[in-house]
C-alpha cells in the first residue's frame, strides 16, 4: 500500500506539467463555481439584506395589538418598559434596538425651503447607540452626520430630501399626536441625509433620536417595537423561539414577527429570483464538471501504454487501479485546494467592494438612477461542496479510462494510441 501511494506521488511529481495542467482545470472550474455562486446568492440576498439591514431587522417584537393594527401605528399599544427585554437580549448575545414609529405631518416653510408645504410621513425614532447593532442607517449618511442622543435633530432619506428640497441644516417641523392623543409639534434640524441601498428608506425615511420622541410623544419609556438582528442564514424559527424564551417569557402581551412576514413582497420576489439562480448554478456546475472530466480523461488515456507497461512488469490490476486513483485524488486535492484558494481570494473583494455595473446600463434606458453594485456573499456550504466535488469527480473520472485500460490485453495496451 505504501508502495502504491509512493508510486502515485512519484508520478504526480514526475509529470509536473501534466499535473499542473490537470489541476489548473480543476482549480479554475471550482474557483469560478465559487465566484458565480457567491455572486448569484449575493444578488439574491441583496434585496433580503437591504430589507433586513435597513427596514425590518431580522425579527421585530411588538405588542400583539399593535401588530394587529400596525397599519394605523397605534402608539397606545406600545411596549411598556422595554429595558428588561433589551437587557435580557443583550445578555443572551442577541443584537437588539428599540424603535418608535409614528405618523406625522412634515411642515416645510418657504425660505430656506423652495416652497411652503406639508406632507404626511412616517417617522422612525431610533436609539443612536443601539440602532447600529441592527441597522446600517448610520453607515449610509451621504451628507452631514448621524443622529446624536436626545437632540432635536433628524436624518432624512436622500430622495425624500430631494423631493421636498431639504438640505443639511434646514429646519423641519413635525405635527403629530402624542400617545395620549394630544397635538404635538417637534421642531427639528436636519443634520444628515441617508442614502441607503434600500429605495424605500431613501424615499420615505425620517429618523429622529428615540429620547426626543419619548419626551415629545409622552411615551413614558415605552417604544412601539424592539428590532433584533441575527445572521440571515440562521434558522428563523429557532432564533425567534430563542428570543421568545430569553426575553418574552413573562410578556404574553408581546409578539415577535420575523422579516419574512414583515417584508412579504420582497420575499416573494426573492423566491422568484432564487429559482432562476439555481438553474444557472446547476449549469455552471455542469460546465465545470465537464472541464474537470475532460482533462482527467485525457490525462489517463494518455497513459494507457504506461498501464500496459506496469502490468507487463507484474503489477496486479487492483494495485494499478488504486495507484491511478490515488494519483487522481492527489491531482484533485491539489486542484481543489488551489481552486478554493483562488475562489476565496477573489471573493474577498467581491464581497467587500462588489462589482459596479452601473456603467453597463445605458442612461438612455433608465428613467431612474439605481446604484448598480453587485456584491458577493460567503457560503461555507458552497466552498465545501466545491472542494469535495473537485476531489471526488477527479477520482471518478480517472476510474473510467483506467478500467478500460485494465480490460485491454497487455499487448494492446502497450500499443494503444
Amino acid at each position: 500500500m505504501k508502495f502504491l501511494v509512493n508510486l502515485a506521488f512519484k508520478n504526480l511529481f514526475r509529470h509536473k506539467r501534466r499535473t499542473m495542467i490537470t489541476s489548473i482545470a480543476i482549480a479554475v472550474g471550482l474557483a469560478l463555481f465559487i465566484l458565480i455562486d457567491s455572486m448569484l446568492v449575493g444578488i439574491e440576498e441583496d434585496s433580503t439584506r437591504n430589507l433586513v439591514l435597513y427596514e425590518t431587522g431580522s425579527a421585530r417584537i411588538m405588542d400583539a395589538q399593535f401588530w394587529e393594527e400596525h397599519e394605523n401605528l397605534p402608539l397606545k399599544h406600545s411596549i411598556d418598559n422595554p429595558q428588561p427585554i433589551l437587557e435580557d437580549l443583550e445578555a443572551a448575545g442577541i443584537d437588539a434596538a428599540p424603535r418608535t414609529v409614528f405618523r406625522g405631518e412634515l411642515i416645510m416653510q418657504k425660505d430656506p425651503y423652495p416652497e411652503s408645504g406639508s406632507i404626511q410621513a412616517q417617522i422612525t425614532a431610533i436609539d443612536p447607540q443601539r440602532d447600529p447593532q441592527v441597522y446600517l442607517i448610520d453607515e449610509s449618511i451621504s451628507a452631514g452626520r448621524f443622529l446624536k442622543e436626545d437632540r432635536l435633530e433628524a436624518v432624512v432619506g436622500a430622495w425624500l430630501a430631494e423631493d421636498i428640497g431639504a438640505q443639511v441644516g434646514y429646519p423641519l417641523t413635525i405635527v403629530t399626536r402624542t400617545k395620549e392623543g394630544f397635538f404635538q409639534t417637534i421642531d427639528l434640524e436636519i443634520v444628515g441625509l441617508a442614502n441607503t441601498p434600500n429605495p424605500v428608506v431613501n424615499r420615505t425615511g425620517i429618523f429622529i433620536p428615540i429620547k426626543t420622541a419619548d419626551y415629545y410623544l409622552q411615551m413614558d419609556g415605552s417604544v412601539t417595537q424592539i428590532d433584533t438582528s441575527f445572521p440571515y442564514q440562521a434558522d428563523i424559527k429557532k432564533q425567534t423561539s430563542k428570543i421568545r424564551s430569553v426575553a418574552l417569557e413573562d410578556r404574553p402581551d408581546l409578539t415577535i414577527v420575523d422579516w419574512k412576514i414583515l417584508g412579504k413582497d420582497f420575499v416573494a420576489l426573492a423566491a422568484a429570483k432564487s429559482a432562476g439562480s439555481k438553474v444557472i448554478l446547476f449549469l455552471v456546475f455542469i460546465i465545470a464538471a465537464v472541464g474537470i472530466s475532460n482533462t482527467m480523461l485525457m490525462s489517463v488515456y494518455e497513459r494507457i501504454r504506461e498501464i500496459g507497461m506496469l502490468r507487463a512488469l507484474g503489477m496486479r490490476r487492483h494495485e494499478i487501479r488504486l495507484a491511478f486513483l490515488i494519483e487522481a485524488g492527489g491531482i484533485g486535492l491539489i486542484g481543489a485546494s488551489v481552486g478554493v484558494l483562488i475562489g476565496v481570494l477573489l471573493n474577498i473583494p467581491l464581497v467587500n467592494n462588489g462589482i459596479d455595473y452601473s456603467a453597463l446600463m445605458r442612461d438612455a434606458d433608465m428613467g431612474y438612477r439605481i446604484t448598480g453594485i453587485m456584491r458577493g456573499l460567503w457560503s461555507t456550504a458552497t466552498i465545501l461542496t466545491a472542494f469535495f466535488t473537485g476531489v471526488v469527480l477527479s477520482v471518478l473520472m480517472a476510474f473510467i479510462p483506467t478500467r478500460k485500460a485494465l480490460k485491454l490485453q497487455i499487448t494492446d495496451a502497450l500499443r494503444y494510441q
Binding site: V28, G29, L32, A268, A271, L283, T295, M298, D365, G367
Partner: protein, 410 residues
C-alpha cells in the same frame, strides 16, 4: 487550405475529447440563448404592461400633477378632454388612446373600510386599449353611463364580494370635498400581474367624472403609438403641439421616463451580461485546458512537423484553427439547443405565479421568452470569439516546442 484540413482531422481523431470540449461551450451558449430570451420576454412583457395599464407609451398629464401627487390633486387634470382626445386621435402616429381618472379610495362595507385604487375609464375605448374583455374572468364589463364596476379578483376576495353586490366608495373629490357613491359589481377581472389584482377596480369614466365632480376633465390620457413611431420623439413633438393648442399646462412624457420597473429589467439585463461573461470564461477554460493537454500530448508530433519544415506561426495557426472549430461548432450546437428549449417555452410560457404573488411590480406571472435574432447571434459570436481568443494562449505555446523535444518525449 492545408492547415484547415489538418485541424479538422485532429478534431475528428479524438471524437470523445472534442465532443466534451464542445459540450462545455455548447452548454454555456444554450443557457444564454435561453436566458437572454427570458430577459427579452420580460422586457417586452413589462413594456406591454406599463404601456397598457400604467403609463401608456406617452402619457399626458397636468405638469404640476407630479409635484402634488401625494395629495391626489384631481383639479390638476386634463380639462375638456374630449376636444384633446379628438385632436390626438386624428394624429398620424396615434394608434389608440385611453383617457383615465386614477384615484385612491376607501371602499366602505358594513362599517369596515378597505383601501383600493380606482380608475375611471371609457369602456368602449378600453376594449381596444387594454383588450379588457380578455381580463374579465366572471360576469361582464360595466357599461358606460351606468353605476357599474369591474373589480379585481383579489380585492373581491378580500372583501368577500361577488357579482351583483354593492360597492360603496368613499373618496376626496376634485374640489377637495368628500363624496361616496355605490356601484354594482358586474364583473371580476384578473390581470397577468399581481399588482393590479389586489386592490384595483375600474368604473365608467362618465360616472367617475360625475362622482368626483370632474366635469369634462380626466387625470391623464395614455397614448399607444402605431409601430415604427418613437415614443421619445412623439412626446417631444406633442409637448410643442400642446402649447400650440393653448394647453401649455399639460405635459407629455414617454413611458421609460415614468416607470421604475423597466429600469429594473434593464438592470437584470446588465447583471446577466456579467454572468454570461463568466459562463463563457468558464466554458473557455475547458477549451484552453483541452488544447493544453492536446499540445502536451502531441509534443512529439509537433516536433516532427517542425523538423519537417512547418514554421512556428503555422503551427500556432493550426492549433488555433482546431480550437476555433471546436468553439464554433460548440456554440452553434449550443445556440441550436437554446432555440430548441426556448421555442416551446415561448409558446406555452413559464408560470411564475406562485413566486410573483403579491409582488407590486408590473411583471406578468406567466412569462414567455422571446427569441431575439440579435441576442442569439450575439451569443453565438460572443462565445465563439471568447473561446477562440482563449485558445490562443495554449496555441502560442505549441510554437515554442523545439524539434529535439520530439525525440525526447516518449
Amino acid at each position: 487550405m492545408k492547415l484547415r484540413k489538418i485541424a479538422w482531422r485532429n478534431i475528428r481523431r479524438n471524437t470523445r475529447r472534442s465532443i466534451l470540449s464542445m459540450s462545455a461551450v455548447a452548454i454555456a451558449a444554450m443557457a444564454f440563448v435561453f436566458l437572454f430570451s427570458m430577459i427579452e420576454g420580460m422586457k417586452q412583457d413589462v413594456a406591454y404592461n406599463l404601456q397598457t395599464f400604467v403609463t401608456g407609451e406617452v402619457r399626458i398629464r397636468h405638469s404640476e400633477f407630479e409635484k402634488y401627487k401625494h395629495l391626489n390633486p384631481l383639479h390638476l387634470g386634463v380639462d375638456n378632454y374630449t376636444a384633446l382626445a379628438e385632436r390626438l386621435e386624428s394624429m398620424e402616429a396615434v394608434r389608440t388612446i385611453s383617457p383615465r381618472i386614477k384615484f385612491p379610495t376607501a371602499i366602505y362595507k358594513e362599517g369596515s373600510t378597505y383601501r383600493a385604487q380606482g380608475q375611471g375609464v371609457d369602456f368602449e375605448r378600453e376594449a381596444e386599449y387594454q383588450g379588457l374583455e380578455e381580463y374579465v374572468v366572471k360576469g361582464r364589463m360595466p357599461r358606460n353611463g351606468q353605476n357599474e364596476v369591474l373589480v379585481a379578483t383579489g380585492l373581491a376576495k378580500e372583501m368577500n364580494l361577488d357579482i351583483g353586490d354593492n360597492f360603496t366608495l368613499l373618496t376626496q373629490t376634485r374640489g377637495r370635498g368628500m363624496n361616496a357613491i355605490t356601484f354594482k359589481i358586474t364583473g371580476l377581472s384578473h390581470y397577468q400581474f399581481d399588482g393590479l389584482n389586489n386592490s384595483f377596480f375600474q368604473a365608467p369614466l362618465d360616472r367617475v367624472q360625475y362622482f368626483l365632480r370632474m366635469d369634462n376633465s380626466v387625470s391623464e390620457i395614455l397614448i399607444k403609438l402605431k409601430e415604427n413611431y418613437s415614443a421619445e420623439e412623439f412626446a417631444a413633438g406633442l409637448n410643442s403641439s400642446l402649447t400650440d393648442w393653448g394647453r401649455p399646462q399639460l405635459e407629455a412624457r414617454m413611458w421609460k421616463d415614468i416607470s421604475q420597473t423597466y429600469s429594473f429589467v434593464v438592470m437584470a439585463d446588465a447583471i446577466y451580461f456579467i454572468i454570461a461573461l463568466m459562463f463563457f470564461l468558464l466554458g473557455s477554460t475547458v477549451i484552453i485546458n483541452t488544447m493544453m493537454m492536446t499540445i502536451f500530448e502531441r509534443r512529439k508530433e509537433i516536433g516532427t512537423i517542425n523538423a519537417m519544415g512547418m514554421t512556428g506561426p503555422e503551427i500556432v495557426r493550426l492549433f488555433f484553427l482546431e480550437a476555433f472549430f471546436i468553439a464554433a461548432i460548440g456554440s452553434f450546437v449550443g445556440v441550436l439547443a437554446g432555440i430548441g428549449i426556448t421555442y416551446p417555452t415561448s409558446i406555452y410560457g413559464l408560470n411564475f405565479s406562485a413566486a410573483m404573488e403579491g409582488v407590486d411590480m408590473e411583471v406578468s406571472q406567466i412569462l414567455r421568452p422571446v427569441l431575439n435574432f440579435k441576442s442569439t447571434l450575439f451569443v453565438f459570436l460572443y462565445s465563439t470569439f471568447i473561446a477562440s481568443v482563449a485558445s490562443f494562449i495554449p496555441s502560442r505555446k505549441s510554437a515554442k516546442i523545439k524539434p529535439v523535444e520530439a525525440l525526447r518525449a516518449i
